[in-house]
């Protein structure tokens, strides 16, 4: 137990340092964008945050399917933790995107397909977390949440493809597109480093949240 806690807090400090480092290098080290200037630096928060949202909700989806199949409570806890962290990062993606939108587009929000589907995605997973609160019996909660977790994921590919399938205000993908990414390679390296650091932060948060939930479940069972 003690060893585990030491590993947890040390790795936590490492992950926090990694995130601080990529944010600092995104703000100061890499050159600004030639047409937008410094406001483009928000990309190094916005894109990784949105990516972690997708990743988190995919984990919810996979764990939900796994739970319905194996009924392993650890998968249910992992799904719940991943949904919480995913909601946080999706919120960050929307907030940072909104600031960028005000400076670039000229307004904070617009009901274009990408923004609308993202708002639906955020609300769906907030609903998932609320739904979990309404069912107290563990196994029943697991089943209900897993069913919801499967259905809610159907919207996630729509969020990604919305900019390709429909016209809108939001730009198309820069990196996840066929061919060479349409971004200078120095900026791309910074972006990928940010994505890596944010992904590690996601993994650490989910790991700790799952562990805590496991301890709580054990405590409840003992009572």
């Amino acid at each position: 137990m003690m060893v585990r806690q030491t590993i947890a807090s040390r790795s936590g400090r490492l992950v926090a340092a990694g995130v601080a480092l990529v944010v600092a290098s995104g703000l100061v080290l890499v050159p600004a964008d030639a047409s937008q200037g410094d406001v483009q630096r928000l990309m190094y928060v916005h894109v990784p945050a949105a990516w972690v949202g997708y990743l988190a909700f995919f984990v919810v989806f996979a764990c939900s399917a796994g739970y319905l199949w194996r009924r392993d409570p650890r998968l249910d806890r992992l799904a719940a933790a991943s949904a919480e962290v995913g909601v946080m990062f999706t919120g960050l993606a929307i907030a940072s995107g909104s600031i960028w939108g005000k400076a670039t587009w000229g307004q904070w929000w617009d009901w274009d397909p990408r923004l609308t589907t993202t708002a639906v995605m955020l609300l769906a997973y907030i609903a998932y977390l609320l739904l979990r609160q309404t069912v107290s019996e563990q196994r029943r909660r697991g089943r209900v949440a897993a069913a919801f977790g499967l259905i809610a994921f159907l919207n996630v590919p729509l969020v990604h493809f919305s900019v390709l399938w429909w016209r809108g205000l939001h730009q198309a993908p820069t990196v996840l597109r066929p061919g060479d990414p349409t971004i200078d390679h120095v900026l791309l390296a910074q972006l990928l480093a940010s994505v890596a650091a944010f992904s590690l932060a996601y993994a650490w948060l989910v790991w700790q949240r799952t562990r805590l939930e496991g301890l709580l479940d054990t405590a409840v069972t003992r009572d």
């Binding site: 890499v30 050159p31 600004a32 964008d33 030639a34 047409s35 937008q36 200037g37 483009q40 990309m43 319905l68 005000k102 400076a103 670039t104 587009w105 000229g106 307004q107 617009d110 274009d112 397909p113 069913a147 499967l150 259905i151 159907l154 919207n155 729509l158 399938w165 429909w166 016209r167 809108g168 205000l169 730009q171 198309a172 993908p173 820069t174 597109r177 349409t182 971004i183 200078d184 120095v186 900026l187």
Partner: protein
């Protein structure tokens, strides 16, 4: 067993709903129209128009705050007038989404000018400066 059938039904229902929403969105709701589509439709209702600002077409009137320019999709060009204030990225060749309607004389009256940024990012080279916008923006830093 019956629980699995219910679940499968739920998933299938959700999937078909989303497909319907997708098909509906792509055909019924068009976020913006191109100059060619707008001119072909002869529609004077409220709409969004997307085009690239024709280089050299921007005229500003400092007393009336009126902005005149043209947008193109490469095939057709529409003249635009507006009193809206776009961001500092408004410049020759940039993509703009205009909210407004086609007025008399074929001039599009825009209530709002949004800059649609492309997915291309280029690093600022040493010594290079960000090109100034055509207009001063409330968000741009004073030189």
């Amino acid at each position: 067993m019956s629980r699995r059938v219910t679940l499968l039904g739920l998933v299938l229902t959700g999937a078909s709903l989303l497909v319907l929403v997708g098909v509906g969105l792509s055909s019924a709701v068009v976020y913006y129209r191109t100059p060619t589509e707008l001119l072909a439709a002869h529609d004077t209702g409220a709409t969004r128009l997307y085009g690239l600002v024709v280089p050299g077409s921007v005229r500003t009137d400092p007393t009336t705050h009126r902005l005149d320019f043209r947008v193109t999709d490469g095939t057709d060009t529409v003249a635009v007038e507006s009193t809206a204030l776009p961001t500092a990225l408004f410049r020759d060749g940039v993509g703009v989404v205009l909210e407004g309607r086609l007025g008399t004389g074929g001039v599009f009256v825009a209530d709002n000018i949004l800059i649609k940024h492309s997915e291309v990012y280029e690093a600022l080279k040493p010594g290079q400066t960000i090109p100034p916008g055509v207009l001063p923006s409330p968000l741009s830093v004073a030189p």
